[in-house]
Symmetry: C2
Subunit: 211 residues, 2 copies
Amino acid sequence: MKETGKISKAVIKRLPRYRRYLEDLMKKGVDRISSNELSNLIGYTASQIRQDLNNFGGFGQQGYGYNVKALHAEISKILGLDKDYKMIIVGCGNLGQALANYTHYYKAGFIVCGMFDINPRLVGLRINDIEVMDYSLLDEYLEAHPIDIGIICTNKGSAQEVADKLVAGKVKGIWNFATMDLTVGEDVALENVHLSDSLQSLAYHINHRED
Amino acid sequence: MKETGKISKAVIKRLPRYRRYLEDLMKKGVDRISSNELSNLIGYTASQIRQDLNNFGGFGQQGYGYNVKALHAEISKILGLDKDYKMIIVGCGNLGQALANYTHYYKAGFIVCGMFDINPRLVGLRINDIEVMDYSLLDEYLEAHPIDIGIICTNKGSAQEVADKLVAGKVKGIWNFATMDLTVGEDVALENVHLSDSLQSLAYHINHRED
DNA sequence: ATGCACACGTTAATATCTTAACATTTTTTT
DNA sequence: AAAAAAATGTTAAGATATTAACGTGTGCAT
């Protein structure tokens, strides 16, 4: 693989999408594909596809195109999907519970190891075979179990405190669903899913459809 | 308000974030704020903030700054949050159910009017006071009830079919949670929440934290 | 009342991202 | 076997987006 200099975030955001289409193609038994054909499927220009992929190395072959299976494997590796990730969920309301199931079903490699909540009614519950533990046990749990990803599904009032605990507990990344921007150290990856923002964007576009 | 030419999507994505911070400021009783102070809070450059806001009109005043309450109201209006949106949810698994509650609690103005599922075990259930109807009734429901937003929480195999029904039923926008890119007409707004893509991005960033 | 500092709106410059063009290599066809 | 077609990697051009610079109007202090 080519020396990865500084890859822009826009490129990274596109990689999972490439991967999805390649997966579909694999399932259909397609062996090879050109940037032009991919362009027709995905909707990015062929030029952009070649440009994107070339950030990481020359995966294709002139006159031939790309080997679907090999490219899928390369992208998976770039994204780090050849590894496993241990995750915990903090905040076990509807969304937290949904994610506990979601990740279980859809994403091998992302393993929910524990769940935490402050609500006594939820503590002790088993969701998708994972026990909900009391929030006060979070610190010591993190000390005893190395965790890669912390998922925050609390209300916004608690989110930063939870993030601080996760960072102190040496998680490598945080997946944040709280309606709030978190401050974490440089060495912790942060991915926000602001559902509320997303819905508001949708509202805007609904009102400006003729533009 | 200024004539809205063609506003870039990046700007729109930032508006809800501005709005959130302004809401916090309102709650704290702050009356006025400068682009510099906002910059320190939000993390965008002051220049970008002025640039963004100026796309829609001159909301500030030289030597003074912006009136927090007025700016909040303006942004709300731009986003279309001065209106109500009737929504239905198709696919009532964990995620669909979570959203039924989520939107209820957190977003006045976004009203879940109906829920649909193909699973007989879910049909008839009441979630957050909304009855889950059989999926086969979707078409006639949409004919009888004008709906603004359709939320797709099905698996990817059904997502395009559902989208087609929603479009035929004259929804104005689709909020898509299925792991799939949908094709809809030009006159329908589409907002994707690809959780799986998001998690994969996070994985990438976890593995490239020193860059 | 006058001057100074503040801070917007706007124009200009810079940086980034996307698209197009092309030279080269491989495959396919005649 | 030779020529034509296909399709990459890469360089160049064009388009967007971000940041900086600046002129001007407003408020506050002396």
